[in-house]
Amino acid sequence: MIGTIVFWVAALVAVAAGVEVFRTDSMARASYALAASFVAVGVMLLAFELDYLGVIVILMMVMEMAIMALFMIMLMGMNPALMPMSMVHGKRTATVVAAVVFVGLAAAALLIPWPDRAGAPAADLTRSLGDAVMGSKMLVMLTVSPVLFATIIGALVLGHPRDRYQRYGDDLERDHPDDPIQGGVGR
C-alpha cells in the first residue's frame, strides 16, 4: 500500500520535474530539475527494493547534475538565468519522435505477454551484483577500465586548454611549470 503510494508520488515528481527542465528560463533550475527527476527515479528503485541501485542513482545523478549545471551555465550562449529562452530544439521532429517512442514502449509494456517470475531474487542483491562483476561479468568490468582511461585522455586532450608544452616550454626546459595559479604539490 505505502509502496504503491510512494511509487506513484515519485513517478509524478519525476515526470513533473522532467517537464520543468524544458519550461524554465534558468540553466541552474533546468539542471537541478533534472537532478530532482533522477532522485525521484532513485526513490522508485528503492520502492522496488533495489537498494543499491536506488541509492547509487541518487548519488551519481546529483553529483553529475551539479557538474552539468556548471557547464550549462558556462557554455550557454546567453545569460543563463535572467533571459527568457526556449530549451527546445527542433520542436516538430522531437515531438514526433517522442510520441512514436512513447506509444511504442507503452504498447510493448501493455501488450507483451510477460512471463511469470521463475526464480526468487537473491537475499542480498548488492552482493550478487558484486559476485556478477567479479565472476560472470568480469569481462565487462575489465573493458570498462580502458574505456574510462580513454575517456580521461580523450576528454582532456579536447577540453584542457593547456598542455605540458605550454607549461614547461617547447622542449620541456623549465624546472617548474608556468601556471597562472600555483598548485599544491611539487613541480
Binding site: Y32, L59, V62, M63, A66, I67, A81, G184, V185
Partner: protein
Amino acid sequence: MPEVTTLQPWWAALAPVTLLTLAAAGAAMAGAQTARRRGDGPLVAATTPLTETWRLLRQRRRVPVAADRVLWHVAVGGLPVVAVLMAVVVPLGSVVLVDSPVGVVWFNAMDVMLWALWWLAGWGPNSTHSLVAGHRFLGLALAYELPLMFALTSPAIAAHSLRLADVASAQQGLWFAVWMPVAFGVYLLSAVAFSSWGPFAVAAHSDLAGGVLAETSGVDRWLVLAGRHLVLAAAALVAVPLFLGGGAGPVLGPVAWTLVKALVVLAVLELSAGRAPMIRPERFAEVGWMVLLPATVLQMLVAAGGAS
C-alpha cells in the same frame, strides 16, 4: 548478522530534534572556543547558540533583487534535511531508525547532496560574493570526494557489508580507526570539508564577505548555520559505527557509548575552526588527487588484505 531492531518508522520523527540537540552541543563547543579567544567568560560562551538563535529568528529576512528564491530556499532548508537523513541510518545500541543494507552508500549519497546545496546557496542570492564562494566549494568537492569514497569503502571491505550495524560489529577487538588510520583521517578531513567548516570553510569565509552567507539574514542564516552544525553532528555520528566500534565499550550501555564517541568526534570537528589557515581549493586539488587518493587506495588494499 548482529541483532538490530528497526524501530517503527514513526520514531524517525524524533530524529531531527535529537540531532539538533547534538548539534547544539557542537555549536556550544565552537562558540566556547571563539569566546575564549576573544576573552569572554565561559557562561557567555556556552549560551552563544541560544542567543544567536534568538537574535536571528527575530531578524528580518532579506532578498536581493532578482534572486533565485526557489533554489535559494531549497539550499537553505535542504541543509538540515540532508543532515538528518545522513544520521538516521546510524544504529544506536540495539535499535536503529533505518536499517539500510547499503547505509555506507546512503551516507555517501547524502554527502554528495551537499555539493548541490552549497552551490545553490551561492547561486540563489544573485550576489557576486556568494556566487564565487559557491563555485569555490565545488572546486574543493572535486578534490575530497574520491578519497572520501575510498575511505568509506575500506571499513565496508573489512566488514564484508555496507550495513552500518554490520560494520560496527565487525570491529570487535580492534577499531577500524586503529588499523585504517588513513581512511579515518580522510573521513574527518572530508567531514570538515563538506560542512564548509574550519580550515575548509571555503563556502562561507570572510575573504568573500561571508561567501554564501553574504546576503543571508534572519531565519535563512539560522538555517544555514544550524544546518552546518547538524551536518557536522551527523558526520560525527556516522564515524562511530564506521571507525570507532559502534556502541561497544565497558560499563556504559551501547547507546551511551555511541553518543560519547560521537561527542568526541564532534569536538574534534568543531574545534578545528580557526586553528589553521584556510586550505584553498587551488592548493588542495593536487593534494587530494596525488596524495590522498593513492593513500586511500593503498589503505583499501590493506583492508582487503586483512579481510581475505
